[in-house]
Symmetry: C2
Subunit: 254 residues, 2 copies
């Protein structure tokens, strides 16, 4: 049995708890957090504590807290034997104390409360300070997902940046589309099948192959008409910046 302690009570911690608590090879020995109310979620199944100074013994301590607090909290923990890992996309493994056995377990997913559909397909980016510890952490990772990847800190930083484009910025595009719909009294819901279909395409094609639209076709007439329809300068700037970028991407082919 892998003995695991979760430090932190946010969305990632809850997600890991739900998955690991149900796994026969894992013993979740303790959850540690500041927030008394948040700890109630875990207390039904596992011993909880608000005392960061006296942690129980475990093989792996998972620090699932805000990126900006990782280094500070990690340096205050009193860990003797186990391995300490964090779960952040953009924080280097080096942010953890050099005297400890260190690692990273980064679920490449946007976790916000509800549990994602196909948990066992979520990529887990794993890194550790020794080959032995990598194998230990990999063992834990396979208890969570089938998709475990050896990714170093620099690669993970780049993946996190790419994820901002793929997830946060694409969602903002949906958001702007819904603003346009709202402003003109048409239901955003009409666009949902289109969005689903675009995403289905990306599961098979490269985004480069899947691109369509006026900018891709070089249809300047429609681009100009759209720019005129957008009354807000913020939206005009986004429309022209992205259309230019698409044309730069495909420029050589036109």
């Amino acid at each position: 049995m892998l003995k695991v302690i979760l430090i932190g009570t946010g969305n990632i911690s809850k997600f890991l708890f739900d998955v690991l608590n149900a796994h026969p090879s894992v013993n979740l020995v303790q959850v540690v957090g500041r927030n008394k109310q948040a700890l109630e979620y875990f207390a039904k199944f596992t011993p909880v504590s608000r005392n960061f100074e006296k942690l129980m013994e475990a093989d792996i301590y998972i620090l699932a807290i805000n990126d900006s607090a990782i280094s500070e909290v990690a340096h205050q923990l009193d860990i003797n034997k186990g391995m300490l890992v964090h779960t952040a996309g953009s924080v280097s493994m080096e942010a953890l104390p050099a005297k400890l056995r260190r690692g990273v377990l980064y679920p490449l997913q946007s976790l916000s409360g509800s549990i994602p559909e196909k948990i066992r397909e979520i990529p887990l980016c794993v890194e550790a300070s020794s080959e032995e510890d990598y194998q230990l952490l990999e063992k834990l990772a396979y208890c969570i997902s089938n998709r475990v990847e050896h990714i170093n800190s620099e690669e993970r930083r780049q993946l996190h940046l790419a994820a901002v484009f793929a997830n946060n910025f694409s969602n903002h595009m949906f958001c702007l589309a819904s603003e346009i719909c709202k402003d003109h009294g048409v239901p955003f819901d009409l666009l949902r099948p289109l969005i689903r279909e675009s995403c289905n395409k990306i599961m098979q094609l490269t985004p480069h192959e899947a691109q369509t639209g006026p900018a891709r076709r070089g249809d300047q007439e429609t681009i100009d008409e759209h720019l005129e329809m957008l009354k807000e300068s913020r939206l005009q700037k986004i429309y022209s910046t992205l259309s230019e970028s698409i044309q730069t991407t495909y420029g050589k082919e036109l």
Copy 2:
């Protein structure tokens, strides 16, 4: 039986052909197009013609050709009794000759060869020059999809603009993410579950609710780090423009 003639041999025409040809209430009497080779696709099941001057008789003539050619071709057709409709998102119904019974049948979908997954959920935006003709066209529309919407030309124009954000621009975000991955030797495939999950979210939540990421959280430290990581000025401009736009959207809440 509704007698229908398709004019044009592109993706929309093929899509409509595949669906309508299989429908017991529709008689596809003819497909007309310039391109001999493209007509072969239809010729196995239906009479085809390259002569735009002598069309057969039908209840509804569907003009499924390039946006920019609609008005010109429409004015050259010799239609006596039937109704003429086009299928374009950004072209007004007024582009068709005023002396004819006119309409629009716009499938709000990106059709590029392969048939979309849930055809009967594709929204069809329908408009006609008289109430009687609306009902006729609506009848045909329900042979294609369960989702038929009465949308006028101005609403349709706005929907088409919104679709550029929701589909074309979001796909470009996937494209930029894949460029970042490629430049740093990490597989874009790792991002696919994230993209699928983001799209799943949008099927239930509003994009406004679903937004996550550094800009949404007001995490300036990560934004600055990402801007530094992006070596290309085009990507920097997109990153900062979109992050500012997200912050404008959520600014009042922070």
